[in-house]
C-alpha cells in the first residue's frame, strides 16, 4: 500500500477541487498531482483520490484507464514514450522502436531491471513536424535517428 497523501498534497488537491463546480471535473488534475507524488496510480491511489473527492472509485478508474499518460503500474526513472502513429511510422519509427527494444533490453510496456527506463508505445504525440519523435518524461525529442537516440539515452544515464 502506498503512503497516505501528505498534508501538502491534500492542500494542493483542495485548491484544485475549489476551481470546479463539479467534483468529478477535478478527477483528472488531481490524478496528475497523485501521479507526480507516487509515480503511478494503482487501485490504492484510485481509492484515495475518490475518497478525497467524494466520488466512487469506479469514476476515478474510468479516467485512469482512459488516459494513457496516467500509469497504472510503477514506471522507471525515465519513461520513454515512442510514437507509433502514422507520420512517425512513415519516417521509420518501427525501426527505431526495434532499436530501443534492443538497446534497453525490454519489450514495450516493460521496465528495465535497474528501474531506470520504461519503454512505451504511444499514439500521436502531436509533434508530426518533428517525426519520428518520442517523449522522455515530459521532454520532447524529434527528428530521431539511432545516433540521436544513443546520445539522449547516454545523457540520461
Amino acid at each position: 500500500m502506498s503512503p497516505e497523501f501528505s498534508e501538502k498534497i491534500q492542500k494542493k488537491i483542495k485548491e484544485i477541487v475549489a476551481r470546479y463546480p463539479q467534483k468529478e471535473a477535478a478527477i483528472l488534475p488531481v490524478l496528475h498531482v497523485a501521479q507526480q507524488e507516487f509515480g503511478y496510480i494503482s487501485s490504492e491511489e484510485e481509492k484515495q483520490v475518490a475518497g478525497i473527492l467524494g466520488v466512487k472509485p469506479i469514476r476515478v478508474r474510468e479516467v485512469v484507464t482512459f488516459y494513457t499518460m496516467l500509469n497504472r503500474e510503477p514506471v522507471g526513472k525515465y519513461h520513454v514514450q515512442v510514437c507509433s502513429n502514422l507520420s512517425c511510422s512513415l519516417l521509420g519509427a518501427e525501426k527505431l522502436i526495434d532499436y530501443l527494444k534492443q538497446k534497453l533490453g525490454v519489450e514495450p510496456g516493460k521496465t528495465t531491471k535497474d528501474k531506470k527506463f520504461t519503454l512505451s508505445l504511444v499514439e500521436c504525440l502531436g509533434a508530426c513536424e518533428q517525426a519520428p519523435c518520442m517523449m522522455v518524461n515530459f521532454e520532447y525529442y524529434g527528428n530521431l535517428d539511432k545516433k540521436k537516440i544513443d546520445k539522449i539515452l547516454d545523457d540520461l544515464k
Binding site: S43, K56, P57, I58, R59, R61, E62, T65, F66
Partner: protein, 518 residues
C-alpha cells in the same frame, strides 16, 4: 411554440425541445440506440443522425434543439447512407450470435440492421475476442462482445439508483463496460439493466435461454407486490392447450408511466411472478360434511347466500365475520362494503395481509399488497385480524386470501376455525389452510381479472385481464355480485353489476374519494 418541418410536413412543437422529441410527438420514429427518454442525450451511438437544411453536416436528433422554421429530413438519401455507415461500424465488432442471443426479436440493433443494413460485410478482419459471460450481478450476465457502449446501464446506475456499480474502462477498441474490482451490481433495480440494454450485452439469468421473445404474448397490468402500482407488461407463453401445456409467465417488463413508476420497476416486482403459475388452486373444494352440495359455482354461492339469509332473518348478522386483504380491487372492496357493511351491518371486518417489509426511496413501498389505500378510502378500517375475536361469536366466517397463515400457525388457526360453524375461503393458491374450511373457492389474480387499484399516493389505476383465470377460478367481484343478488336484500342493484366498470360507476356514486379522483 415553433413551426418546424419534418420530412416536408409542418408541425407546431414546443420551443426548446429536441428534434428527436419533436419527431416522436409527430409520430415519426428516429432510430436510436443510446438515447433513452429517462436520461439526457448521450449522443454516442450516432444512429439518430438527421439532415437539417442549411447545416453542412448531419446533426444528432437526440441533442439538437428545434428552431423556428427548421427543416428536418429523417429519411433523405444522405441520412440513410450515414445510418448504414454507423451500423456497419457497430457491427464490425458485434458478434453474429443472434440465434443464441436472448435479445433477438426485441433487439434494436437487429431491427435497424433489417431496415438499413449493408448485408454484405466489407470487413475481412477477425473480430476481437472478449468476455462473453461475465456475471456482473445476481441476475445479470454481461457479454462484452455484444456491447455497443451506449452507456445506458452506466447512466441508469448513476442517475436512478446512484449506486454506480458499472463504469466504462479503457478506450478505443478496448473500451468496455465493467464492474469495479469484482463488486457486483447489487441493488433492487438491477433487472432494469437487461431491459434497457438495446442489444443483448446484458442479459438476465432469470430469462436467459428459456424461451424466445417472439413466442411471448404481452399484456399490460399493474404490479401487485407493493402499493406503488407500477405499470408492467406481463410476457407469457400461451401454452399448447391441445397438448395440455399450460400458459407460463416468462418475464415482467416495466411500462412507462411518468406519474407512477417513470420507466422502472424494482426487482421484487420483476422477478416475483412465479406465484402467477405455481401452486394455483384450480377447483372448488367442498369438505366431506358438506357433500350435499356439488362443487359448482352456482351451488357453492347459493349455499353461502342461504347461510347469510338465515342469519339476517334471525337478525344475527353480528355472527358473520370477514377477513379481507388488500389484494382485492376497489370494485371488490366496494361490493364487500356494500353487502356486508351497508346491507347487513356486519361489524367484524378484519384484514390479514402479507407483513410489511422494507421499502426504499425510489419506488418500493413497505406494504406488500397493492390496494391498502383503496381499502382505507372505501371506509373500511384496516384492523388486523385477532384469532380470539374470531372465535367468540362467529358462526359464518368468510376469509379472502391466505395471509392469516403469515401471522398465525396452522394449528392455532385450525383450533379457532373448528369452533366456527361455517367457514369459507376465497383463495388463489393451494396451501395448508384449505383443509380447515367447508368450502374453498378459487379466485383470479390481478393479472386475470379487471378492476382498479388505488396506489399509495391515492392514484386510481385500471387494469384488464392479461389472460384467462387459472382453472375454474373466478374474479372475486363476480362472486360478490352473485352473492349480493342471491341473498336478496336489493337483487336488482347487484343484477346490473356485470362488469368491473359497472361496479366502478356505483363506487363513484357512493364514495366521494373515487368520484373526485376520477
Amino acid at each position: 411554440m415553433v413551426k418546424i418541418f419534418i420530412d416536408e410536413k409542418s408541425f407546431e412543437v414546443e420551443d426548446g425541445i429536441t428534434v428527436f422529441k419533436a419527431a416522436k410527438e409527430a409520430g415519426i420514429a428516429i432510430p436510436h440506440l443510446c438515447y433513452h427518454d429517462a436520461f439526457p442525450p448521450e449522443g454516442s451511438c450516432r444512429m439518430c443522425l438527421v439532415e437539417i437544411e442549411g447545416l453542412p453536416k448531419l446533426e444528432l436528433a437526440c441533442s439538437t434543439q428545434v428552431r423556428d422554421g427548421m427543416k428536418v429530413f429523417t429519411k433523405s438519401e444522405r441520412v440513410v447512407e450515414a445510418r448504414k455507415g454507423v451500423l456497419e461500424f457497430l457491427l464490425a465488432e458485434h458478434p453474429l450470435d443472434c440465434p443464441i442471443c436472448d435479445k433477438a426479436g426485441d433487439c434494436k440493433l437487429q431491427d435497424y440492421y433489417e431496415t438499413y443494413g449493408l448485408f454484405e460485410s466489407q470487413f475481412r478482419e477477425v473480430k476481437e475476442k472478449r468476455e462473453k459471460k461475465a456475471k456482473i450481478g445476481k441476475n445479470l450476465i454481461h457479454d462484452e462482445e455484444r456491447c455497443i457502449i451506449c452507456k445506458r446501464c452506466v447512466r441508469f446506475l448513476k442517475e436512478v439508483t446512484h449506486t454506480q456499480e458499472l463504469g466504462i474502462f479503457e478506450r478505443g477498441i478496448h473500451t468496455s463496460v465493467n464492474i469495479y474490482e469484482l463488486l457486483p451490481v447489487d441493488n433492487n433495480y438491477s433487472g432494469n439493466l437487461a431491459q434497457i440494454c438495446p442489444v443483448g450485452a446484458i442479459t438476465d439469468t432469470d430469462f436467459r435461454f428459456k424461451t424466445r421473445s417472439w413466442l411471448l404474448k404481452k399484456g399490460k397490468s399493474i404490479c401487485p407486490l407493493c402499493s406503488r402500482g407500477c405499470n408492467i407488461s406481463i410476457e407469457y407463453h400461451p401454452g399448447f392447450p391441445h397438448f395440455q401445456v399450460p400458459k407460463k409467465v416468462f418475464r415482467i417488463y416495466s411500462l412507462e408511466n411518468p406519474d407512477v413508476n417513470g420507466f422502472w420497476i424494482c426487482d421484487l416486482g420483476r422477478y416475483g411472478y412465479s406465484y402467477i403459475d405455481e401452486n394455483r388452486l384450480d377447483r372448488i373444494m367442498i369438505k366431506k360434511e358438506e357433500q350435499k352440495i356439488e362443487p359448482t359455482w352456482e351451488q357453492s354461492l347459493q349455499f353461502i347466500a342461504e347461510k347469510i339469509k338465515g342469519l339476517n332473518f334471525l337478525k344475527k348478522t353480528s355472527q358473520i365475520a370477514l377477513v379481507l386483504n388488500t389484494w382485492l380491487s376497489n370494485e371488490e372492496l366496494f361490493l364487500i362494503h356494500k353487502i356486508f357493511k351497508s346491507d347487513l351491518n356486519v361489524e367484524s371486518i378484519f384484514f390479514a395481509d402479507r407483513p410489511q417489509s422494507e421499502g426504499d426511496d425510489i419506488l418500493l413501498t413497505p406494504e406488500r399488497s397493492p390496494n391498502r389505500r383503496g381499502a382505507q378510502e372505501m371506509g373500511l378500517s384496516i384492523q388486523p385480524v385477532k384469532l380470539e375475536t374470531l372465535a367468540t361469536k362467529t358462526r359464518l366466517l368468510l376469509v379472502f386470501g391466505s395471509s392469516i397463515q403469515d401471522q398465525f400457525s396452522s394449528s392455532d388457526i385450525k383450533k379457532v376455525l373448528d369452533k366456527i360453524e361455517t367457514k369459507i375461503l376465497f383463495a388463489s393458491h393451494s396451501n395448508d389452510l384449505i383443509s380447515f374450511f367447508d368450502i374453498v373457492l378459487p379466485t383470479a389474480l390481478i393479472a386475470e381479472k379487471g378492476g382498479s387499484l388505488t396506489n399509495v399516493e391515492g392514484r386510481i389505476q385500471k387494469f384488464s385481464p392479461v389472460f384467462e383465470p387459472s382453472g375454474d377460478s373466478l374474479p372475486e367481484w363476480m362472486m360478490l355480485a352473485d352473492l349480493g343478488r342471491e341473498f336478496g336484500i336489493n337483487p336488482s342493484f347487484y343484477e346490473q353489476l356485470k362488469t368491473p366498470e359497472a361496479i366502478s360507476i356505483e363506487t363513484e356514486k357512493e364514495i366521494p374519494f373515487f368520484r373526485e379522483k376520477k
